[in-house]
């Protein structure tokens, strides 16, 4: 008799059918590149297969595959950001003058927003996606980890090997860039 009543079992033959689209959606939302996302799904299935003996059945098969995929995504970002990070002060000069005041071209304008749910349109998310692509790769990674993964600050700092103060300076740049890009490209079409 097998005592597997309370534990989950792997069914590799069904992985593609059950999880390929879900993992692909998960990956593409984070890396924003369909070829890279396809490779990540492939790597996920293959390394899951190779490490099948380490699967102990406490988490569901689905959760286990997502965890592997998540680690593949982090590795991908890490490779992209292998060089030490330089916080470029010139970036800020696009937004603020020497006295630290908003430059007239960069000062936030009022957004005409009736309700928040009215913004959640396909058009908005397309513009957001193209704005994300304009970020530097370390900034893209931060964005994904913070907003899509909801990763803890400590974990993000560990992955990127940065201090918490570097972290929020970087995420601040992300916000400056995205806010400006959305205002220019999306508020304009409304």
């Amino acid at each position: 008799m097998q005592s597997t009543l309370n534990s989950h079992q792997l069914q590799p033959d069904k992985w593609v059918q059950l999880y390929a689209d879900a993992l692909f959606s998960y990956a593409i939302a984070r890396v924003q590149d369909s070829a890279v996302a396809e490779d990540l799904v492939q790597d996920t299935f293959l390394s899951a297969w190779k490490s099948r003996e380490q699967y102990n059945g406490t988490a569901s098969e689905k959760t286990w595959l997502y965890t592997i995929c998540k680690n593949k995504i982090i590795d991908h970002f890490r490779r992209q950001t292998a060089s030490p990070m330089v916080l470029d002060d010139a970036e800020l000069a696009n937004y603020f003058d020497e006295g630290g005041h908003w430059k007239p071209s960069a000062a936030p304008r009022a957004w005409r927003i009736e309700t928040e749910s009215a913004i959640e349109t396909k058009e908005f998310y397309q513009v957001l996606a193209s704005c994300r692509k304009k970020l530097k790769s370390v900034q893209q990674m931060l964005f994904s980890m913070k907003y899509l993964e909801d990763a803890a600050t400590d974990d993000i700092c560990k992955y990127l090997n940065i201090t918490p103060s570097n972290y929020w300076v970087l995420i601040h740049r992300v916000k400056l860039h995205l806010r400006k890009c959305l205002e220019k490209n999306w508020m304009g079409i409304n």
Binding site: L128, L148, Y167
Partner: protein, 85 residues
């Protein structure tokens, strides 16, 4: 006015503190300085509201864009897995 000058933040500093507040929290002094700045500066107020909004919308990205792998790619994956077994 000397004291006001001493505690008044520039917009560059104020927006930094807005991000710091959202992610790691502020000291009592920083919180007071930021409140004072936001009471007066409409641009930094907009920055705060708009970046909070972007954060909330960003969390829904995946729901908004469900993606589908091509049948061809799925068959290739299936074959690879079978070959590995």
């Amino acid at each position: 006015m000397a004291i006001f000058k001493k505690i008044w933040l520039s917009c560059q500093q104020a927006t930094m503190l807005i991000s710091k507040k959202q992610h790691t929290g502020l000291t009592v002094k920083e919180a007071a300085q930021l409140r004072l700045h936001l009471a007066i500066c409409k641009f930094c107020n907009r920055f705060q509201q708009q970046t909070n909004l972007i954060g909330r919308l960003a969390k829904k990205i995946q729901q908004q864009q469900p993606a589908v792998l091509s049948e061809q790619k799925k068959q290739a994956l299936q074959k690879q897995l079978r070959d590995a077994q």
